[in-house]
Structures are given as structure tokens and as C-alpha cells.
Homo-oligomer: 257 residues x 2
């Protein structure tokens, strides 16, 4: 939390991501070839194929939490509030009453304003709850990032039968728009396929695949979030490769490495 | 550590930063106006001025730890090794014996190779110790990121009398090169002035100053590091603005906010 909500470093990374996105979109709009960055149904990360764009107006699709909004109030409560409460209950209360306890991620408002000026439709695809669509529209709008309208520019968990998966919502959006850029803090904001990886290093390795690696900063834009999410998994043996597991020779046990 | 060393999200942010840098440098080299991104002596963050570039060959300056190298071995030892040891001792042992327990940050090698192809000199400015210059040269070289040569393409803590401050070393580099891009995981990798901020929110606010904000992703490139560093400071009252300190109404004490 110190890093994400308090540090200049995380604020700078956030601005850097939004700046890269703004320049990238400007460049794409000047070119002839408007490629969608939404993976097509049935595509794989090994052999990515994207939905067709012909004849569709340009759009950018963003996750909401820790992508366009910093949930400062919720995290403050997480850090200082009563312990041992049910997450889902607390989160639902947050969606409903935390409307003014959020801020845009650094650089988000400037970038979304620039997208609107460039004629790019801005659409939100979030796992906030469909039963709280109205306060979420309000939170986005009052942070200056809207308009967010449920079913038009706002897609929520509960909109379909796939729960917190986002591919089906992405395909629904991509039926009507040429999605030239996406932004998120979780790999699932780009493709549900990332979360099918069988273990921690395999999931990380998917981001380096030849068809995937060039998309980071060129179509897919990642915001920092070390506070929560699907990436926070694994023990020392999962996150540090076996051939990098050093010990200080001054204190390593005899026979140890 | 799960985030930085284990997650696909952090790997993707790292690739995004290196990609943004590579495209930015290509663009700068095609233009006429090669602006230095090293703040001049006496400049402030409020009114940034940069050192002159006329007649100097282009260079990019990078921090080393958690910027071009992931210190996987050191962090593994931090997590699993003997506790309560002196940090400076352990770090000095690491510099000397950890040469093969590091990896390039995701995307670093591809970007540094591209810089070399574009004729940009790659220079490292790190707070690793001057007394361990040789193993640090070796660590950088053997990770495929070199050549690192002390006093030419590698500048270290102890090279001058300013300790871990980096401005004097930056100015020394900028006497000979037009530094068109810098990369780091700490604000001090861009200017020592960031660390003169009087408190946590003030330090974060410096990154949003009108003369500073446009540099993130356009000259100054930030790599993620929520594991250690000057940004990890402050309590709840420092990192969450007073007007964003929400509590769940279902559990908030009466009279609380």
C-alpha cells in the first residue's frame, strides 16, 4: 500500500502507462491499419489471433479498480478498519457508499480526456457488481472519467453467466467497436487465458510469449498493483527460479548452496 | 516479492517500460532536437532546466538493481536465509558472489540491444559499491547487458564524495553525452531533488508537477519495485488523503467517519 498509494514511483509508473497509451493511440489513428487488440474466440496465447476491425469505430477498454480508479477509501478501511469481515459484503458496501473516496490513477484523467478528443470511445469492463451499476457509474463519472453507462460504456460482473471472466464481455464490446487499446492491472484484463496457467512461473512466462510480449505498451497497457490480485501467489520456490536461489556464503549452512 | 519476482503483471509492466523507451529513443533519434533529460545543476523540479546537448553523442543512463537486473538471489536469501544480519555486509557479499543469481528485468536485454543497434551509448549509474566494481561489471556483462566498464559505462557509489546521491555522477556523464533517456526504479534515479521532499504526499506530488509529469514515459522510464526503496514510507494517514479515508458503514464505530 505504501508503494501503490503513497509512493512517487508508483505514481510515475501510472503516468508512464497512460502516456504510452495516449501516444500509441494517436499513432494508430494516423495509420491505415487499425488492429484490434482483443483476442478472438478460440485463439491461444501461443498463436494469438484478433477479432476483425473492418468498419467499426475505435474504442479503448479499461478495467476500473486500480486501473482508472484508486480505491483509496477501501484500502484505508482494509488497513485500519475492523478485522475479519466478509470481503464480498464489505466490497458491496464500498461500491455503494465509497463513491467519493476514490481518485483517478495518476495520468488517467488526462489520457481519457485525450481519447475523447481523438474520437475514441472509452468503455469500462470491470468485475464490480452489476447490482451496483448505478453507484459505479457515479464513481466513474464524478472522478471525471465518464460517461459510464451500464450496457453501453460499462460492463460488469453479472452481465452474463461467466462470472468474473471478462472474455465474453470483451467479445460483446468488440462486436461493435475496433478495440485498439486495453488497460488493466491484472492479466485477466487482457485475456482470461492467462489464468489457465498451471503454476506461478508458467503464468509469468505467458507474458513473454513471442505473440504476447510485443503487446505490452503497444496495445495492452498495464497499471501497477502489488496490493491484491491473481499475480500474488507462490512461495520462495515458485517465485525464484532454482538456479537463482543464492545464500550469503557468510551465513549459509554447511552443505547448503 | 510475489508481485515483482513472480507475477506476470510485473513482468508485463517491465516489458511495457522497455518498449516505451525503445520507441521513444527511436523517435528522438529521427528528430532534429535531441533534448537531454538530465536536470542541470541548480535547476528545480518546479522549473526544470536540462543540461545542453550540442555536439555530444547520444546516451541512455540506467540504474542497475531492479532496473536492468532482478536481484533474485539476494531477495531469495532475504526471504529464506538467516535473519538479523547486517544489510551492508550481506549486500557486499551479494555483489561479490551473486553474479550468476540475477536475471535481466523482462524486456531489458531486447531494449539495450536495440539501443546499441541505434548507436546509443548505454551507461549504468548505480549505488552498488565502487570497491566491488569488478564483480558488478561481470554481473552486467554476463546477463548480456554490457559492456559495463567502471568510469566509462559504469558509475558507482564511492566514485565521488556524494555517497548514494546520483546527480554529480549524472552531471559527469552529461559532460560527455547527450542523455536522451534514463531508467530507474527509484525517483533518485532521475533527480536527487525528489528525496528532499518533506513528507510522503509531498514526495508523490513532485511527480505530478507540470514540468515533471510529461517526462514519465517520455525521457524518464520507471521500472516497478514495490519490494524496497525510498518510496516505501508512511502510515495510513500519510498514504491515504484525509478526504479519502472511508470506513465500511456496517462496522464503523458510532461517531467515526
Amino acid at each position: 500500500m505504501q508503494y501503490l498509494y503513497g509512493s512517487g514511483e508508483a505514481a510515475a509508473i501510472s503516468r508512464q502507462a497512460w502516456s504510452a497509451l495516449t501516444f500509441y493511440v494517436g499513432e494508430v489513428l494516423q495509420g491505415k491499419d487499425r488492429r484490434s487488440v482483443v483476442l478472438a474466440e478460440g485463439a491461444s496465447l501461443d498463436a494469438p489471433k484478433f477479432v476483425p476491425c473492418a468498419g467499426k469505430p475505435p474504442a479503448a477498454v479499461f478495467d476500473v479498480d486500480e486501473t482508472v480508479l484508486l480505491n483509496q477509501g477501501f484500502e484505508y478501511d482494509d488497513l485500519t478498519g475492523a478485522p475479519h469481515r466478509d470481503f464480498d459484503d464489505r466490497w458491496a458496501h464500498w461500491e455503494k457508499t465509497g463513491i467519493h473516496a476514490v481518485s483517478p490513477t495518476p495520468g488517467a484523467k488526462e489520457a481519457i480526456d485525450a481519447l475523447h478528443r481523438m474520437g475514441v470511445m472509452v468503455i469500462f469492463n470491470t468485475n464490480r457488481n452489476a447490482f451496483n451499476a448505478e453507484p459505479t457509474e457515479q464513481a466513474i463519472d464524478e472522478a471525471g472519467l465518464g460517461p459510464a453507462r451500464h450496457g453501453e460504456t460499462l460492463f460488469l460482473a453479472g452481465d452474463d453467466k461467466t462470472g468474473s471472466l471478462k472474455d465474453a464481455r470483451r467479445w460483446r464490446i468488440a462486436d461493435h467497436y475496433c478495440v485498439i487499446a486495453m488497460g488493466g492491472d491484472q492479466l485477466g484484463d487482457f485475456s482470461d487465458l492467462f489464468n489457465e496457467a498451471s503454476n506461478v512461473p508458467a503464468r509469468r512466462a505467458l507474458t513473454a510469449l513471442p505473440g504476447v510480449a510485443p503487446l505490452w505498451g503497444r496495445g495492452w497497457f498495464v497499471l501497477p498493483n502489488p496490493v491484491y490480485g491473481s499475480g500474488l501467489q507462490g512461495g520462495a520456490g515458485d517465485i525464484f527460479p532454482a538456479d537463482k536461489q543464492w545464500h550469503d556464503p557468510a551465513t549459509a549452512p554447511k552443505g547448503g548452496h
